[in-house]
């Protein structure tokens, strides 16, 4: 039991973070806040990956004399790519928010919905 907790607490907290971000995204509301939530969701997934790649007593995977145990570089590479994808999504999402504000005068999801329906 204790072993399970020690071995997994990291994953569980990361899951908690993911869900906090996920909740912010899908709970309808402010368009900017949703994007912030999406970022938190994704960043937490990055934490999950890096946790998978972590090795006890390891070091950064830069080959050097005197070290034998390195963290797994593959998740790092994947996450570098994922971070770039994330910031690209954020930029596009925010660009859309700017346009929506111009077209609707609001960035609250409820109000936009009302405006679309009340035409």
């Amino acid at each position: 039991m204790i072993d399970t907790i020690i071995g997994h607490y990291n994953y569980w907290v990361v899951i908690l973070l993911m869900m906090a971000g996920f909740y912010t995204v899908i709970n309808r509301g402010n368009l900017i806040k949703k994007i912030a939530g999406l970022n938190i969701f994704q960043t937490s997934v990055f934490l999950l990956y890096i946790s998978i790649g972590y090795v006890n007593e390891g070091t950064t995977p830069i080959i050097a004399e005197g070290f034998t145990r390195y963290a797994n570089p593959l998740p790092h590479v994947l996450i570098l790519t994922a971070i770039v994808v994330g910031v690209s999504t954020t930029a596009l999402g925010l660009a859309l928010v700017v346009r929506i504000k111009r077209a609707y005068g609001t960035i609250e999801e409820d109000e936009i919905h009302d405006k679309d329906m009340s035409l």
Partner: protein
């Protein structure tokens, strides 16, 4: 901020320092943390700082949007062209071994070129995005 002399002074000297740091990160990625992406971001930060202090107008004179668009495209093309070159030399796509007599040297050349491509595209795109988001016309 445009008229704050201290800021202008600091910025003038900070700009080359940041740019240099970006170059370091760009080419030191083989040995330490960093690489084209991080370098591109840092380089764009240098320009953003410049723009914030000296104004968008002077910035747009140095780096007009059209140029940035070309640069962004160029970066991708540099990367892809590396792959095509290896193809034409008879290897697989992005097989850098073939770029030189020594495979390791080929890898070095290849990685350097593609990291350069990454750096160019990233800094150009970051600036494009910065331009767009600070464009006053979007906030009428």
């Amino acid at each position: 901020m445009k008229h704050n002399l201290v800021l202008r002074f600091i910025t003038k000297y900070l700009f080359p320092v940041i740019a240099l740091f970006a170059l370091y990160v760009q080419f030191h990625g083989d040995y330490g943390p960093g690489g084209g992406f991080q370098a591109g971001v840092i380089l764009s930060v240098a320009f953003i700082l410049y723009a914030m202090v000296f104004g968008m107008e002077s910035m747009e004179k140095v780096l007009p949007l059209g140029l940035l668009r070309t640069l962004a495209s160029t970066g991708v093309l540099i990367y892809a062209a590396t792959g095509v070159t290896t193809l034409l030399m008879g290897g697989n796509f992005l097989d850098y071994d073939i770029l030189s007599q020594l495979p390791i040297q080929g890898q070095h050349i290849g990685i350097m070129i593609i990291e350069l491509g990454v750096g160019i595209t990233v800094s150009a795109v970051m600036l494009i995005i910065f331009y767009a988001f600070t464009d006053r016309r979007n906030y009428d």
